[in-house]
Structure formats: structure tokens, C-alpha cells
């Protein structure tokens, strides 16, 4: 995917592990992780929205934690495990959060959806049964301009209900 002109000598390249595959990419302080994912690796599911970490459309998982790839220099991601929206499903089997977004009809234009799903996956990995306050706090860095917030909350609550038995229920 990298254009020949942009390829740096190998001693200046670093290894980026994305969705289980290692890609050598040039070391360049000007390149954000978002830029490399979209423009060099062709992983366009991760979106540009603002370039300053305000909208969350660019979120990916680094070692399981949702980060804003537009403000993450490529050097910070080297040697760690990066998962983009393209790597959230297990092959053809959707992640429960993806299933819940489909069930809840939790998107309109769909541009914010990858960032929303990645953020929700990271939250539920960390806190399997988050409270409404914890969900809103975790999601607050993600913008949906179509205003689908309530459905997104509904989708996340559906994932929670599905993955965890209600408190106090008999085994």
C-alpha cells in the first residue's frame, strides 16, 4: 500500500502489529497512527473527524485500550497490539457489541460507528457490567452528529445484559 516514494530505508522502519499482522512502516514523527492505518495500510474503517482527539471517530484498541489514533504518534504504537474496527469481529462472527449495534439500530450515517464500537468494546473489557454513569463517561469522547446517542447507549446496555447474568440471579 505504501507508495514507493514514501518508503524509508529499513533501518528507519518500525514494526506495527495490526489485527494480528505485522507491517513494517517508516519511522516518521509527522505520521499519526490514524494516517498510517488509513493511508498506508488501507484500513479505512477507522475515520478522521477532527484531527485533535475531540470526536472519537479515529479510536482503535492498543493493547485492548481505546485510544484516539489521530493524536497517537506512530512511534507510540510500535511493538504493541493494535486492533481496528476491521479486527473486532472473529472472522465472520460479529462481536457481541457489533451485534447489539445492529439490533438496536444504533446508527444513521454510520461514520461514527467504528469509533463507538471500539470504545464500547474497550469499556466492556475493563468493566463488564458498567453503570449508566460509567457508560456515558467512557463514551463521552465520541461524537455522533446524527444524534443517535440514546440508541448507542441502548446497544451497549444490550451487550451488557447479554454477556452478564443479572445480579443476584441463581447459577
Amino acid at each position: 500500500m505504501t507508495s514507493p516514494e514514501a518508503t524509508a530505508p529499513s533501518r528507519n522502519s518500525l514494526a506495527l502489529r495490526v489485527n494480528g499482522t505485522v507491517h513494517p512502516v517508516p519511522v516518521d514523527p509527522d505520521r499519526s497512527l490514524l494516517y498510517v492505518l488509513r493511508e498506508e495500510l488501507g484500513l479505512t474503517g477507522t475515520k478522521y473527524g477532527c484531527g485533535e482527539g475531540e470526536c472519537g471517530a479515529c479510536k482503535v484498541l492498543i493493547d485492548g485500550v481505546a485510544v484516539r489514533s489521530c493524536v497517537t504518534p506512530i512511534g507510540e504504537a510500535a511493538g504493541r497490539s493494535i486492533t481496528t474496527i476491521e479486527g473486532i469481529a472473529d472472522g465472520d462472527r460479529l462481536h457481541p457489541v457489533q451485534e447489539a449495534f445492529l439490533e438496536a439500530g444504533a446508527f444513521q450515517c454510520g461514520y461514527c460507528t467504528p469509533g463507538m464500537i471500539v470504545t464500547a468494546v474497550s469499556l466492556l473489557d475493563r468493566i463488564p457490567r458498567p453503570s449508566d454513569v460509567e457508560i456515558r463517561a467512557a463514551m463521552d469522547g465520541n461524537l455522533c452528529r446524527c444524534g443517535g446517542y440514546l440508541r448507542i447507549l441502548d446497544a451497549i446496555e444490550r451487550s451488557v445484559r447479554r454477556s452478564a447474568p443479572p445480579a443476584g440471579s441463581a447459577p
Partner: protein, 700 residues
């Protein structure tokens, strides 16, 4: 791209010349002929349309074509439901083709809530013609009379036999012209439309596979950047391109006032643009501080995105002279930005003298015309394709970006993509116009309104008329010379006009010690709107009160209504204002009625989304500007609604299968701001007459 090279766009060919059957196989094509008076201008009796067409094929699948586009509002599925209903097919067997000027009927653009009202009716009429033909074919095949045939689930059934619709299509190449008098199925009989439906493209959204314009990467792609003036009103005086030109791999194009660069990667394109040395000229521009006076002092001719209203009934002068009570107030709304999450993007590619532009736009045919004009090629040599688009909200009408990409692609001989940065999106797009609205009302001692004068400065005429029964009215609007570029926006002036009117009605109710709901109802002539108001008051648990009496608890309730583009809305807001004067929205109830509901889940989603979007303009969104420069062109400086801003929203939908379907994307915005302003008054006794109401989160 091979399609693009094939020949003339369908809308520029006579129906009998189009290669439907070569392209899509044997079957039946139904066509609703266009009503198009010319490339610009509306014909008598309303906006022109380019018709619709539907192909039914041998696999029992149908492909329907409309000129409207999908930018996230969900009309693709809603319109497909209407086609499936007419043809007796399951939704999954209907594919809607939208946003391709080579294949789709001409359309003036997707705005003004016309997708359901126009495209929906056109597709129903086209579908009805196809259904008649299918029924006749089935009757012949089954040896029964046509009235004995019913269509459903892709099968034509007679009294004692059935045949799959696809089988009827074998060896057939028939074109039926639909007549506008074709009778589509009545909404009360709907089996598919009006019921739950799933969006067939949804899986690609959650896996990240959906490709938006900014994701497209044809082979050989160059990234383009355009040199923009640093402020409005500035023109290019001199430009030195030498430093940009020597950068490796960089192309620089300078044609008249256009300066653009293209490079194999985006970073180099940015670097090339930074290397351009430009000097600009231009006099001072009005600033935010003087804006109201500026708009009052600078009347202008109207622009094309609004109508001018000059509505007069009765004798306002005499009525004010006789009125016992009169009230005069001014209401304003700020310039606000659309902030589509996907900034504007275009990809242009030339192939054998023919140009294809992939463009996130609400007006692909207008873009085709603009490209044809700018590049001096016939419209038939231009194809505009609208990929999945990360929302529009009325902000994606302009074609400048498409023209810039096409120029760069032509000069370099390579496909070129231009995608705005967020800062460019804020600075180079246009805004929802600022409104200054003067209202003067006159009433008898009993509170009954006798005179109503309503003057909108700059923002437009949408929903300027009052739905209240007032014998003497003068309603008009005056466009102004705007210091910022302005244009369409979801619900446009209807938000400002409804904010002004519904705030004023509340002020009147308070003046006369009347319950705000009862006071509205006693003036309301529109029974549909009254029904929505009653439904919302009931759902909200509205307790009639003599008048807003500011409570010590800081808790308040407000209600507002609106009528626009065939839809009726009522919104209730429940707020709390804390001891620190911080405003909290506790709950919103919105009721909406837009005739027969086609896609209930999507309509609900639109109403919720419109309510959330309206919260931004009501509470805190404002573009700040000084001397032609936008001062807050970043998301860190321009606040839009987030998760924390969204209260519980209770949506009440009123279905009217006896009435034609109107749109649902815009009108649900318009009563949110006045409902909140009225609730703040109820809570504090403070009447706020300017949007945004609480820029820093606190009630002033």
C-alpha cells in the same frame, strides 16, 4: 468506471433508448416520466421532478431508481419499503439505486424534507404501474381474471394456483409508462411498508467495511489541497508557487483564482500547500459584536435557498390601534455550523474525456451542472456518484470541492481526492443564517390575539406563518448582506421562526395568566397540530397552571409547537436550574405527526436525532467571527451535543394512514429551543430571547 464510459446518462436519453434490459436482464421496466422544465427553475405547481423507474427481473428481484440521495437519514430503506409494498415483494428483494447521475432520474436535490413526499409518491406511482402489469401477466398465466390475482412475498396467487413473480419475467422486455393517476396501495392496506424493517447494508457499518467518499482510493490516486483565503472577503493579490513546485512528486495548478496542489501522499500535499506564498487583499468585514445592527442596516436581494414571504391578512394597523394589550419583542439566533462528522470529500477521475466524481453531496445533479460549466464539457460527459456519506444536514450542497478535484485530476492525468480537514470544514462551508426576528402582537383584555406582526431579518421564511388563528396578520422576511456565507441547514429558518413565535406565545400566556397549553389550543385552527399538542401534554403529564410562576425549586416545564413541511411537532422540556444557575435538561417529550408512517423505527430515529441536534443550537452552538475570520473553527472550540448533554427523550409518533407521508428529518427540530426557553422561564422567571440560550451552561 466502465459504466461511466458506456454512454449517455439515462436522464438525458429517451426512455426507449435506455439499455435497461442489456444491463439488468429480461423483465419489466416501469417509468414515471419526468416533469422537468429545464436545468434551473421550478415549473408551475411546485418543484419539478425527474420521475422514477423500476426494473423487475427474472430472479424476482426489483431495482428501483430515484434521484434523491441517502446521506444517513435512512430514506433508502423507507423508499425501498414503498416499492416492495407495491410489487408484492419482500424488502430484501428490492434494491434502491440512489446517487448516480448516470442511472438515476434527475432531481434538484435532497433537501426540504421532500424524499418521502416526492420520491416516495413517485416510486409508489411507478410501482403501481408495474403491479398492474404484473397482475395482468399473472392472470394470463394462471388463466384467471386480473381482480382474482394477489401479489405477496414475491408470488402472484390466483384462486387455484400461483406463480413466482420472477418466472413471469422470463423472456419479457416490456416498458410500461406509469401515469400520475396510477393508484398505489392505500397505507391502511400496507403489509410491508409501515412495518418493522432492517437495513440490508447495516452489517458493513459495524464491521468498518462501508466505504465513504473519504475512504476511496482508486489506483494512482493523488491527494489534493486547495489554497483558500484566510478570511471572508479576501482575494488573491499575488502568489509565489516556486517553493511548492520544486517539492518532489508535487503538482501545482494555478488557473485564475484557483490554486491547488496534488501529491502522492497527503502529508506532502499539506507541505506543498504550506510552501505556497500568497498575499491577499480585502477591506474590513463586519464582526460578531455589531452583527444585529449590520443585518438591520444592509438589506439584500433574496438568495436561492429560501423563499421570500410577504403575507398579509386583515388590517394590522387598525387592529393594533384597537388592541388593549400589545407586546413587542426581538428574538435572535446565532450562525451555526452543520459539522457533519465526515468533512466534505470528493474524488475525481477522467477516463477518455469523461469525468467521474465521487462526491458526498445532497445535490448530485446540481454538481453535474457545476462540473459541466466549470470544465466546459457537456453534462453527458460528467458522472457524479454519491458514495455513503457521513451526514449532510443541509451542509453538503456546494460543488466547489468537486470542481477543484476535477481540475487537479485533469491537470495531473491522475485520480485526485480532496477531503477537508475539520478546520477547512468550519471555514470553507456555509452556515445556518443568523436570524433577527421582530414580533409585535396585540390582544383583547381576555388574551385573545387580534393582531400579529412578524418580521424575519436574514434567516428566511420557513415556518414564518403562524398556525394560530389571528384575524389581522403581517408576516414578512427581509434577506440581508451576510458577513458570513450562509445556506441551507436542517429545518433552516423554521427553527428560528418557531423559537420566536413560541417564545412570544408563552410571554403572552404569562401576561394573561393563562395556561400555556390551553392558551395555544384556544388559538389553534389546525386540528392535526392540536392533536399532537394534546398527545404530548398527556404523555408529559402536563398539569394545567394559571401561568408560569417561577418556583423556588428551580424546576420548570415548557412546551412549544410547530408546523413545517407537512409535519406537526410538539415538544415538552423539563429542566432544572441549580443554585449556581447551571441548566440541566431533565427530560424531553416530542410528539410528531407526518401522515402515514412508512418506516416506524427510522422515523423514531430521525425524531430522536433531530431533537439531539436541536439541543446544540438551542443551548450552546455559535460560530464566533471577527473581521471575516472564524474564531472557533475546531471541535475543541465549537461545542456540539455529546452523550452527557442528552436527556431521556420520549418520542410519541402519531400515525395517520389516511394522509400522505411527509418527511421526518427536519420538522422535529423546530420546537426544542422554545420548549427549553419556556421551561427556563418557568423555572427562573428569566425570559431568554437569544439562541444559544446558555453558551457557558448557566442561565444568565
Amino acid at each position: 468506471m466502465t459504466d461511466a464510459a458506456r454512454g449517455l446518462p439515462y436522464d438525458l436519453q429517451a426512455p426507449e433508448q435506455r439499455d435497461y434490459f442489456d444491463r439488468y436482464g429480461d423483465g419489466l421496466v416501469a417509468i414515471l416520466p419526468p416533469q422537468r422544465p429545464g436545468p434551473t427553475g421550478w415549473g408551475r405547481g411546485g418543484p419539478p421532478h425527474g420521475g422514477a423507474w423500476i426494473h423487475v427481473g427474472t430472479h424476482g428481484r426489483a431495482r428501483a431508481f430515484t434521484g434523491k440521495v441517502e446521506v444517513g437519514q435512512g430514506t433508502r430503506t423507507a423508499l425501498a419499503l414503498l416499492v416492495a409494498e407495491e410489487l408484492g415483494l419482500p424488502l430484501a428483494a428490492v434494491e434502491l439505486t440512489v446517487g448516480d447521475t448516470d442511472l438515476c432520474p434527475w432531481d434538484m436535490g435532497t433537501f426540504g424534507s421532500r424524499s418521502m413526499a416526492d420520491a416516495g409518491e413517485h416510486l409508489r406511482a411507478t410501482g403501481a404501474a408495474a403491479r398492474s402489469a404484473l397482475v395482468a401477466l399473472a392472470a394470463e398465466r394462471l388463466g384467471v381474471r386480473a381482480p382474482e390475482v394477489s401479489l405477496g412475498d414475491g408470488v402472484a396467487r390466483g384462486p387455484s394456483g400461483s406463480v413466482p413473480i420472477g418466472e413471469l419475467m422470463r423472456g419479457l422486455r416490456r416498458v410500461e409508462l406509469a401515469s400520475p393517476s396510477a393508484r398505489p396501495r392505500r397505507p391502511s392496506d400496507w403489509k410491508v411498508a409501515g412495518h418493522a424493517a432492517s437495513d440490508p447494508g447495516a452489517r458493513d457499518v459495524v464491521t468498518g467495511a462501508r466505504r465513504f467518499t473519504s475512504d476511496l482510493h482508486p489506483p494512482g490516486l493523488l491527494h489534493g489541497k486547495v489554497l483558500f483565503p484566510p478570511r471572508y472577503g479576501a482575494t488573491l493579490r499575488t502568489v509565489d508557487l516556486s517553493a511548492a513546485r520544486v517539492l518532489p512528486g508535487v503538482h501545482v495548478v494555478h488557473e485564475g483564482d484557483f490554486v491547488g496542489v496534488a501529491a502522492p501522499d497527503l502529508l506532502r500535499a499539506h507541505a506543498a500547500l504550506r510552501a505556497v506564498r500568497a498575499e491577499w487583499t480585502g477591506g474590513p468585514q463586519p464582526s460578531e459584536a455589531d452583527i444585529v445592527r449590520h443585518l438591520r442596516d444592509h438589506p439584500a436581494e433574496g438568495e436561492d435557498f429560501w423563499d421570500v414571504i410577504d403575507h398579509s391578512v386583515g388590517d394590522v394597523g387598525s387592529a393594533f390601534a384597537a388592541a388593549l394589550v400589545s407586546l413587542r419583542e426581538t428574538y435572535t439566533t446565532a450562525y451555526i455550523a452543520h459539522v457533519p462528522l465526515e468533512p466534505h470529500a470528493a474524488v475525481a477521475a477522467w477516463e477518455g474525456g469523461r469525468l467521474t466524481v465521487w462526491l458526498g453531496t445532497q445535490t448530485p445533479f446540481r454538481a453535474r451542472d457545476a462540473l459541466s460549466d466549470a470544465l466546459a464539457i457537456p453534462p453527458s460527459s460528467v458522472r457524479v456518484v454519491v458514495p455513503s456519506t457521513g451526514s449532510g444536514f443541509g451542509g453538503k450542497h456546494a460543488a466547489e470541492l468537486a470542481v477543484a478535484a476535477a481540475r487537479l485530476a485533469k491537470a495531473t492525468g491522475r485520480p485526485v481526492r480532496i477531503a477537508y480537514t475539520r478546520e477547512e470544514e468550519f471555514s470553507q462551508a456555509y452556515f445556518r443564517p443568523m436570524a433577527v426576528i421582530d414580533i409585535r402582537s396585540g390582544a383583547g383584555q381576555d388574551g385573545r390575539l387580534t393582531a400579529w406582526e412578524f418580521h424575519n431579518l436574514n434567516a428566511g421564511s420557513a415556518a414564518a406563518r403562524t398556525p394560530y388563528d389571528i384575524p389581522n396578520q403581517k408576516i414578512d422576511n427581509q434577506p440581508s448582506e451576510s458577513p458570513l456565507p450562509q445556506g441551507s441547514y436542517r429545518a433552516l429558518a423554521a427553527t428560528a421562526n418557531t423559537f420566536a413565535r413560541e417564545s412570544h406565545m408563552d410571554e403572552l400566556a404569562a401576561r394573561f395568566g393563562r395556561d400555556p397549553v390551553e392558551y395555544r389550543l384556544c388559538h389553534l385552527a389546525d386540528e392535526r397540530l392540536a392533536a399532537v399538542l394534546r398527545a404530548v401534554a398527556a404523555r408529559a403529564g402536563w398539569v394545567p397552571r394559571p401561568a408560569a410562576a417561577p418556583s423556588a425549586s428551580g424546576h420548570g416545564e415548557g412546551i412549544a409547537i410547530g408546523l413545517e413541511k407537512g409535519g406537526r411537532v410538539a415538544t415538552f422540556a423539563d429542566v432544572a436550574v441549580g443554585p449556581d444557575r447551571r441548566l440541566e435538561i431533565l427530560r424531553i417529550v416530542t410528539g410528531y405527526e407526518c401522515g402515514a408512517i412508512v418506516h416506524p423505527a427510522n422515523l423514531r430515529s430521525q425524531v430522536e436525532g433531530a431533537t439531539v441536534m436541536a439541543l446544540g443550537g438551542a443551548l450552546f452552538e455559535a460560530i464566533h467571527f471577527e473581521n471575516g475570520r472564524i474564531l472557533n473553527p475546531r471541535l475543541s472550540e465549537y461545542r456540539v451535543p455529546r452523550f452527557r448533554d442528552v436527556p431521556p427523550i420520549d418520542v410519541v409518533l402519531l400515525d395517520r394512514p389516511d394522509l400522505p407521508s411527509a418527511g421526518g428529518g427536519e420538522t422535529p427540530l423546530i420546537a426544542v429551543a422554545p420548549a427549553i426557553a419556556n421551561a427556563i422561564y418557568d423555572a427562573t422567571g428569566r425570559r431568554l430571547r437569544a439562541l444559544p440560550l446558555v453558551p457557558d451552561g448557566t442561565v444568565p
